[in-house]
Symmetry: C2
Subunit: 257 residues, 2 copies
Amino acid sequence: MAINVTFIGSGNVATHLALALHNRGCQISEIWSRDYSHAQLLAGRVGAKPTDQLASLDKTADVYILAVSDDAIFDMALDLRLGNALVLHTSGATSMEVLKPISKRYGVLWSPQTFVRDVALEYETLPFCIEGCDARTEKDIESLIGQVSNHIYHTDREQRQYLHLSAVFVNNFANALYGVAQNICNTHNIPFEVLYTLIATTTQRVKWGDIRYQMTGPAVRNDTKTLDAHRRLLANDPDFLSLYNELTKIIQERIKF
Amino acid sequence: MAINVTFIGSGNVATHLALALHNRGCQISEIWSRDYSHAQLLAGRVGAKPTDQLASLDKTADVYILAVSDDAIFDMALDLRLGNALVLHTSGATSMEVLKPISKRYGVLWSPQTFVRDVALEYETLPFCIEGCDARTEKDIESLIGQVSNHIYHTDREQRQYLHLSAVFVNNFANALYGVAQNICNTHNIPFEVLYTLIATTTQRVKWGDIRYQMTGPAVRNDTKTLDAHRRLLANDPDFLSLYNELTKIIQERIKF
């Protein structure tokens, strides 16, 4: 018999997960959102019942996925009581014990990915980090998400926190560097697209192994002539100059052999 | 008649450029390297004559490409005299006027890319930044490299310098962030591969336009709870903590709307 899954939340993560599970034959029972029209929108895409009433939620689903903000998870835990159902949150930063008041069987289903509502993802290769309150629960989470992806990692609380932190470095912070480069290009009438292939090849090479062996450029060579030339170019922008120096220092002291 | 090209240098850039031009029907005349065996290796791949004697270089080629280190370009300019041949260097950081003593017709042919000798590149999409000492010379450089790629940009000295600086941000510095994340993952027994899809999707989204609109994560949301949690995780690593704070500040003050 198909597994019944209810989603608490209808945002980016809920949308992607509900669609992925629906496409693999899961029965999506209900979609709850504070905003009924949002619940309706997602519910319509996965054949579920929309609701904005947490108190009158159908309690007979097999799995409840709380795909809401970290703060909202804490709020839910005050009111929601779901007995023996499997209850999961999708947060990288929140402990699973927060869910303890809601059900005896709880855990985490987190993917280190930035979900954008209407941008398709290849779910089969999407990594999922799972954690369950006991071995049987963890097995159940694995079976559930195993229908969507075969990249499943068992990570405990501490590992998940550090992975969340690492994700900020490779995603938000890398994006910030692209933003800095875009800013510099715009200022000097250089089309930023000139850098697209460099960005693409740099990130393909991430899979080659130890990053320290792949470092190139003036910092790792300690090419002071080029470093000084770059610093002169940034002399009028103390923010970017300070970032340039900080990253050069990190490469020279930590990310090289 | 096919254009005759001689390469001064046999490193990563020379290898890729010589192969690309050779494959498009250019005649590669000579390959010079300080190390004869290096010259021989590349010469063998492109049907050229190897040499380690700069003084006895055949002076009848149409184009001479100095694909050597920035310092070596300056050294060459002291000795090399090539009359009316087109002489180019391939450096992002060096002015074209350095080549003035060598020939009347000089310029720059620089690609913002990290060339690795035996890793194939799609040359057709590779960007080339060109600059010539006059309009006719610039046209000749464009014809030459137009055989290899149709992504040609005319950039003056200042633009090329700022592009070189921007390339350090998107390549070396992004790599440094991957190195930091890899270090954190290794320390906590997390397979770094968990982050591969996040890295790939992040960089694909670079093409969506203004990076500031695409920023996500705790810094741009000013989610102080998560920022503080991350800072606690980094409390024992002052280098990484300082970098975390610097990048958070850059996002909050510069890379957002």
